[in-house]
Symmetry: C2
Subunit: 198 residues, 2 copies
């Protein structure tokens, strides 16, 4: 089965009539495109292009395959777009409780990833000590907050009415109102569900 990169190369070269322009368009180098074409033709056992002085031209076989390749790419884009609409419906304001040094929390990375996932989400940062963040979350004042966990405590458990989950690649934990089911009832709460991927 041909991968998307291969199909993109094929379509780009077919449309531009040139490996160079296709490479430019796809932000790759000439050799990369050239190799992809070679692989595609070898896999299919077909000759899709013929060399012309000013570039490459489609053969009859290439012409016959182009529409199918374009459809395959279009379907893939539809998939991506469908996925996009599923979390672009997220709206609301997320109140985040922070502690200690934002640099230590890698807060910038966290926020940028959050924005990438849910661009329409507003965030509001509230700084405090670890204990006060816990209290304000329990009171519903904050939606989610950082929490320095004691080492060796495992992950994914619930305690004290709060659900917490270890963030891999980070040295801190995030807390949100318990159960995850509550999260689903409000726009803000659904954020918590989305955050599971971060």
């Amino acid at each position: 089965m041909q991968e998307y990169a291969t199909l993109r190369a094929f379509v780009a070269v077919a449309r531009t009539g040139s490996v160079s322009r296709a490479a430019e368009q796809l932000h790759l180098t000439q050799p990369a495109i050239s190799l992809k074409l070679k692989q595609l033709q070898a896999n299919l056992g077909l000759t899709l292009f013929s060399r012309r002085p000013q570039g490459l031209a489609l053969t009859a076989d290439g012409h016959a395959l182009l529409p199918a390749a374009e459809k395959a790419l279009a379907s893939a884009q539809v998939f991506e777009q469908t996925a996009g609409t599923l979390h672009s419906t997220l709206r609301g304001k997320l109140s985040i409780g922070t502690i200690v040094d934002p640099e230590f929390l890698r807060l910038g990375a966290f926020l940028s990833r959050l924005m990438a996932r849910a661009p329409q989400l507003e965030t509001e940062l509230h700084h405090g000590m670890s204990g006060s963040v816990l209290n304000r979350i329990e009171q519903g004042d904050l939606d989610v907050g950082f929490y320095l966990a004691p080492p060796g405590e495992g992950s994914g458990q619930a305690h004290g009415g709060l659900a917490w989950r270890e963030l891999t690649h980070f040295d801190y934990h995030v807390i949100a109102p318990a159960g995850g089911k509550i999260g689903l009832l409000t726009p803000v709460g659904s954020i918590w569900r989305r955050c599971h991927g971060l």
Copy 2:
């Protein structure tokens, strides 16, 4: 952009409701599927499955994405199939001149790859010494033949009215009537063009 292997994993798990059965179906291991699912969900920023005692069940998001994934896969299969029909129209008999030991030529591998590319093609093997094969090709008695080339001779050149091309991964060469243009005029000749991918 999600690759096909990822979409196949998603669809297989969604349909079977189990990583194990999906792995079996795709001839992969449980961890490979599990990783693909994790990557897909991370890329999309969505939770597609929820864990059940007997396996995994689609979430609402997963349900919404399944049709798009199936369409993307179907389009890819249409592309492959279209390519298949392009060289399944090949018919005719190919007379192949062989030399020395068929085992040494890896003739079985060559023929099986040829059959995979052009299933409707008949082949006819004629064994002889290297010189006689050359003569019979020049006389049009054979369509294509094996030839032990002197080392260091480069590849893709034409000499003595014959075109020859080095077969990568093999230690021998294939000869066919010169120019490749002649090849396009007859069913048998078009075989030579197809062989370029082997």
